[in-house]
Symmetry: none
Subunit: 411 residues, 2 copies
């Protein structure tokens, strides 16, 4: 695979630098123009600080993964951190994302699956895929009930049942020599029972894992059969930590993550970032950033509000979130000798109320950037920026280059 070879080359030319790199990710920030709405949220927002940064910086655009593909936050962020999310080596399973999303300290050998409570009828067929809409509290109670049923290890394997939210939970298999080659038990429709546990291969390890798992499933189902709503469950995305090379090893940088939500913090931890304690507000994020400024080389700052507004179709809210972020961007603008990168993990156009495939504007300000003709951090201006269109997994190497951390390759 090409990108692996490119990575090898880049790693061979890394050197030290004192310059800091701040990567500000405005979640879902990009949008698109329509005939009736000829300006995007980024264009409509008043952004004096981003404008100033854009004037002295270079602009470009990011394709999160593949042309035409809308990505989730997991692959979107992995890409920005320099890990090609389309490379199977970098794949983070659903189960793992769910575990890191509740701040569970997943160990390398553990298998994690994503669970959903369902309601079963007398014949065992699913009648409700969301467990009758149970509350967080009920979820916690039913999970405790299941946990009690599998309190004893099975063949040395400890089962952990962790409530997530609503009808969702997480199941962890903690033991040696387990396999993650287990199929989903979720038929994704009502009227049929959940699938029996099955493996995707016939190895000894998979067969043993499947046997242990089948025993656990039976015990847990027995424990909840009297529940009025959550009397069954389906499981998906069995996976383990892919063991990604960390940023310190790869680039010799100490990286910090400033993200209040567990999923983002979790992905950042998986690439070796140190999570900095922070609150939910944008002010909290920038306070945490400057509090940690002297202790790290690289900072990932996550701004969630832009995506939330996009998902709700709230154009005004998205504009407000951009403007609020802009006020804090000002504090970065004075760092003329450092590298400031502003981008998003994907587009979330309010018109679509969903993640989309549209390119995301990218801004890099540094002592080495081309002061191009693109003067605002917007979709329109980024088209004529001097960085051009790059894949998300190329952003990290561009940031390193702009910090002077990449030596010349070859004579």
């Amino acid at each position: 695979m090409n990108s692996r070879r490119h990575l090898e080359i880049l790693k061979s030319v890394v050197r030290k630098s004192e310059r800091k790199i701040a990567l500000v990710v405005l979640d879902g920030v990009a949008g698109y123009r329509t005939t009736n709405n000829p300006v995007t949220e980024l264009e409509a927002a008043r952004t004096p600080s981003l404008d100033r940064l854009a004037r002295r910086g270079s602009l470009g655009r990011v394709i999160p993964a593949i042309q035409g593909l809308a990505v989730g936050s997991g692959p979107g962020h992995l890409g920005l951190f320099g890990y090609d999310p389309t490379d199977p080596m970098n794949e983070i399973g659903r189960g793992v994302l769910e575990a890191v999303g509740i701040d569970y300290p997943l160990k390398k050998h553990e298998i994690s699956g994503r669970g959903s409570f369902v309601t079963l009828d007398r014949t065992g067929a699913i009648v409700d895929l969301k467990g009758g809409g149970i509350t967080d509290g009920e979820c916690k109670r039913v999970c405790a009930r299941m946990q009690a049923a599998v309190a004893e290890p099975i063949d040395g394997v400890q089962i952990k049942v962790l409530p997530v939210r609503d009808h969702r939970f997480c199941i962890i298999l903690d033991g040696e020599g387990l396999s993650s080659a287990l199929l989903d038990t979720d038929p994704e429709r009502t009227g049929v029972p959940p699938f029996q546990p099955r493996g995707t291969d016939d190895s000894i390890s998979t067969r043993r894992t499947m046997t242990i798992f089948a025993i656990a499933v039976t015990r847990m189902l027995d424990a909840i059969c009297v529940e009025p709503k959550a009397n069954g469950f389906v499981l998906r995305g069995f996976s383990r930590d892919p063991g990604l090379e960390n940023l310190q090893t790869r680039w010799g940088i100490r990286a910090a993550a400033i993200a209040s939500q567990p999923l983002y913090r979790g992905v950042a931890k998986m690439v070796g970032m140190t999570p900095i304690p922070t609150g939910h507000s944008i002010a909290d994020a920038f306070r945490a950033l400057f509090g940690a400024w002297n202790d790290f080389d690289f900072f990932y700052v996550h701004i969630k509000k832009t995506d939330l507004a996009g998902e709700e179709g709230d154009r005004a809210g998205k504009i407000a979130a951009i403007e609020e972020t802009d006020r804090f961007i000002e504090s970065l603008d004075s760092r003329l000798d450092d590298v400031i990168v502003v981008t998003g993990d994907h587009a979330t156009p309010p018109q679509m109320r969903a993640h989309s495939f549209h390119p995301v504007p990218l801004l890099i300000a540094s002592p080495f950037c081309d002061v191009d003709d693109a003067n605002r951090y917007t979709e329109r201006e980024s088209i004529r920026g001097s960085i051009g269109t790059v894949r998300a997994c190329e952003v990290m190497q561009l940031a390193l280059a702009h910090s002077g951390r990449l030596r010349r390759y070859g004579a």
Copy 2:
């Protein structure tokens, strides 16, 4: 190869949609500007309908296969259909293209080679590479003569000799267990005899095929040795149908091909499109398109005139072909909820009278497209379009994304 993995990912997120996709391929439509000719044919043409579509659509540019590479119609179209023509798995041999080019219904097991009649002197050396310029009628007659000489199957293998045009014909080997690992017999110069039949490997299958083939060649040469012009032949591009995954399997779409010429219809059939009967005029093509509109999800419409004019260096003719197409594009403009894609399979600049490596403008109009600042379907405007520069094999996934057929990837 990266693109295979990307394809796997894209296939994993396909969903249904009611939106139609119309891919209008203006063959060889792109050109380039010179100091003396500062506007291209697309710029010189009056194209009110394309202009309107461009204003509400997104523009970009297509690299047919690899930067700097001019492609033939085969690889050019394969790319636009989403099959990377540089992936050996997608290779369509010359022999196969020749067979589909005369509408021969090539079966999976058959081997096809491309033949050219030559004139041999008494020593057996080639004196004319085009068989003395024989007519279609003579070609047909000489082919029939050769066919009669190999009427009997050889070791169960039926040989078929099919006239194409001028001095060109096609030879088909129809039998079980054949190999296509045969070398060209064409020395590509006069003064030497054609090469003897040889295989490229030493497998049993190749050796058997070669033996059968050598017998056939001897019998056919004996049959035409008395011909005044076409008394010999050379053979190239032995190949079989690569068995491409069809569009229905890959994307769940029913695809129709509207192309009057056999080669285009043949390539379309190889990816599972249903050919719609049509005439040679642009009006015929659009009539066929709307006649089939309700029965398919995807439509490929081929416009040949632009390429023909380009090949002849006929700038005015190319402009006229663009303007003629534009009048029919109007009927697509009202399909606001569908996806209209306009592009070409390669450039054919009249200055070069040949296919060239220049990028080809791309236009996508859909409910989800960014209404960018590019307002005409021209080389100049497409540079500042919001799609950017993509490879031809990314056009299909962009079309699918714009039709809402690709779900989000990852959590």
